[in-house]
C-alpha cells in the first residue's frame, strides 16, 4: 500500500462507520422507543420499516438548504462542521480489538474526552449565529450542562486509570481479562460500581439525552440549538449526536465491561470475532441509554445543575480519595 493511502484509509473507515452508525441508530431509536411506548415504530417502508431511515437520509440530502435572514453567516455555516469534526476525531483512539484501531495513543482516554469537549463550542456557535432566542437558550443550556458534567465524567474514570496505571485504552482492556474466583469477570464495573453509576449519569447528560435533554426540549424550545438548521446541515448535527452516543457507549464498554474481551472464552476463539464482540457490547450500551430515554421524564434545568455541582462532583471526589487510599494500601508500589 502506498505511504499516502495507508494513513487515510482508517479515517475513511471511521467516516463510514459513523454514517452507518447514524443510519442504524435512527432506526433503532424509533423501534426501541416505539416498543417502549407500546407503539410499533416505522412499519411501512421495507420489511418492518428497515428502509425508512435510508428514505429519510435521501430526503434530507435533497432538501432545500434554508438560511434565515439575520444569521451570522460564517458562523452559521461553520457550526455544523465544528460539531461534526470532533465527533469524527473521537473514533481515533477506540480499540475495536487488539489490532484493529486507528491509532494507539498513550493518552487515549484523555484524548477522547478532550475532542468531545469541543462539541459544546459548536453548539454555542450554532445557537448564537442562528439569531433565534430558542436556539440561543438551547445552546446555552447545552453548553452549561456539558461543561458541568464533564467534571464528574472525568473524575469518574480516574479510579480506573489509577488502578491500571495507564490512560491507554488497550491497556485498560488488557487489565480486565480473566475472572476472579472462577466466576466473576474481572471487569471494572464489579470493582468500581460507584464510578460506573457516576459515569452513566454524567454520560447521559453529556449526550443531551432524556432525562437530561433540556437543550432541545421539544415542548419548550422547538428544537433547541438546531432550530434554524435544515437539510444536510441539520443532518450533520444529528449525525454527530448519534455518533457521540456510540463513542460514549464504546468508552463505557472499554472502561467498565472489558472492551473486546469475553470471560471464559479462550484467546484463539476470541481473536477473529473481537471487533464484533466490541460493537455488540457497544450497541447493548446504546440500548440501555435508549431504555432510560424511553422510561424517565425530563428533569428541570436547575435540578440538573444542582445534581451535577452539589452531588456528583463531591461524591466522585470522595470516591476518588477512597480508591486512592485503598490502591496505596493494597499495592504500595503501584498495581501495574
Amino acid at each position: 500500500m502506498s505511504q499516502v493511502l495507508a494513513p487515510i484509509l482508517p479515517v475513511l473507515a471511521a467516516i463510514g462507520l459513523m454514517l452507518a452508525n447514524g443510519v442504524v441508530l435512527i432506526y433503532m431509536l424509533r423501534k426501541v422507543l416505539g416498543h417502549l411506548h407500546l407503539r410499533l415504530g416505522p412499519v411501512h417502508v421495507g420489511p418492518k420499516g428497515v428502509v425508512q431511515t435510508t428514505a429519510d437520509v435521501l430526503k434530507l440530502l435533497s432538501k432545500e438548504d434554508v438560511k434565515p435572514n439575520g444569521v451570522d453567516r460564517w458562523m452559521y455555516v461553520l457550526a455544523p462542521v465544528i460539531v461534526f469534526v470532533p465527533s469524527l476525531m473521537a473514533y481515533a483512539a477506540l480499540p475495536f480489538s487488539e489490532t484493529l484501531r486507528i491509532t494507539r495513543l498513550d493518552t487515549g482516554l484523555l484524548y477522547t474526552f478532550a475532542v468531545l469537549s469541543v462539541v459544546p463550542l459548536g453548539v454555542i456557535m450554532a445557537g448564537w449565529s442562528s439569531a433565534n432566542k430558542y436556539a440561543l437558550i438551547g445552546a446555552l443550556r447545552a453548553a452549561a450542562q456539558q461543561v458541568a458534567y464533564e467534571v464528574p465524567l472525568l473524575l469518574s474514570v480516574l479510579p480506573v486509570v489509577m488502578i491500571v496505571g495507564s490512560m491507554d485504552l488497550a491497556e485498560i482492556v488488557a487489565f480486565q481479562t480473566g475472572v476472579w474466583l472462577g466466576v466473576v469477570p474481572r471487569w471494572f464495573v464489579v470493582l468500581l460500581i460507584p464510578s460506573f453509576v457516576i459515569f452513566m449519569i454524567a454520560a447521559l447528560c453529556e449526550l443531551n439525552q432524556t432525562p437530561f435533554d433540556m437543550s432541545e426540549a421539544e415542548s419548550e424550545l422547538v428544537s433547541g440549538f438546531a432550530t434554524e438548521y435544515s437539510s444536510m446541515k441539520f443532518g450533520l448535527i444529528f449525525l454527530s449526536e448519534f455518533s457521540n452516543s456510540f463513542v460514549i457507549s464504546a468508552l463505557a464498554v472499554t472502561l467498565f465491561f472489558g472492551g473486546w474481551t469475553l470471560p471464559f472464552v479462550p484467546d484463539s476463539v476470541l481473536a477473529p470475532i473481537a471487533p464484533v464482540v466490541f460493537v455488540l457490547k457497544t450497541y447493548i450500551g446504546i440500548f440501555v441509554f435508549m431504555w432510560i430515554r424511553g422510561t424517565l421524564p425530563r428533569v428541570r434545568i436547575d435540578h440538573l445543575m444542582n445534581l451535577g455541582w452539589k452531588w456528583l462532583i463531591p461524591i466522585s471526589l470522595a470516591w476518588l480519595m477512597l480508591v486512592g487510599v485503598v490502591v496505596k494500601l493494597v499495592a504500595p508500589g503501584g498495581v501495574a
Binding site: 451570522d72 495513543l105 498513550d106 478532550a114 469537549s117 454555542i124 456557535m125 461543561v147 496505571g165 495507564s166
Partner: protein, 167 residues
C-alpha cells in the same frame, strides 16, 4: 513523521495561530473575537503535538478549548443585553498604543538577544507517566502553589457573586 511533513504542518499551524490572534484583535464583534481566540488555542495545541508533547496538547484542548472558551462565551453572552451590543467600534487610545510599543520592544529585544538559546530536544520522548512523576516530585511545590492560586480565585469568585444576595 518525515521532516517535510512536519515543516508543512508547522507552517500551517504557525499561520493559524498568529492569524487567529490578528483576527481576534481586529474583529469588531466580541463573539467573533472569542471564537478567534479558540482557534488560536487549538492551533497552539497542534504546535505542542508537533513537539511530541502529546499530553500537553490534549490538556490544552481539554482545558483551554473545551472549558475556558466556553466559560468566556458564557460570560460574554450573559453580559450582552442585546445581540447588537456585540459589535463595537474600534477604539484607539494613547495608553493602549504605548503598551503595545513597550511590549513590542521588550519582545523584540528578548528574541534578538536570547532567541538562539533554544533547549535541546530529547532523543527519546518521555511518556505521560514520566511527566506525572516529574510533576509530583521535582516540581511538586510550584504545582501546589499553582493549584492554591486557582483555589483562591475560585473562593474569590464565590464570595464576589454572593455579595449581591445580602443587599
Amino acid at each position: 513523521m518525515s521532516e517535510s511533513v512536519n515543516g508543512v504542518a508547522f507552517v500551517i499551524l504557525a499561520f493559524a495561530s498568529i492569524g487567529g490572534a490578528v483576527g481576534m484583535l481586529t474583529t469588531r464583534n466580541i463573539i467573533h473575537a472569542a471564537f478567534w481566540l479558540l482557534e488560536v488555542m487549538v492551533a497552539v495545541g497542534g504546535l505542542y503535538l508537533l513537539l511530541s508533547a502529546e499530553f500537553l496538547a490534549v490538556v490544552q484542548i481539554l482545558i483551554y478549548a473545551g472549558a475556558v472558551s466556553v466559560l468566556m462565551l458564557f460570560v460574554i453572552m450573559l453580559t450582552l443585553r442585546r445581540r447588537e451590543d456585540s459589535v463595537r467600534p474600534v477604539e484607539v487610545s494613547i495608553g493602549g498604543g504605548i503598551l503595545v510599543a513597550v511590549f513590542g520592544t521588550v519582545m523584540y529585544v528578548a528574541i534578538a538577544r536570547y532567541g538562539d538559546r533554544v533547549g535541546e530536544m530529547p532523543i527519546v520522548v518521555p511518556d505521560t507517566a514520566a511527566l506525572g512523576e516529574l510533576l509530583f516530585t521535582q516540581w511538586a511545590l510550584p504545582f501546589e502553589v499553582a493549584s492554591l492560586v486557582l483555589l483562591v480565585a475560585l473562593v474569590g469568585a464565590v464570595w464576589w457573586s454572593r455579595e449581591g444576595d445580602d443587599r
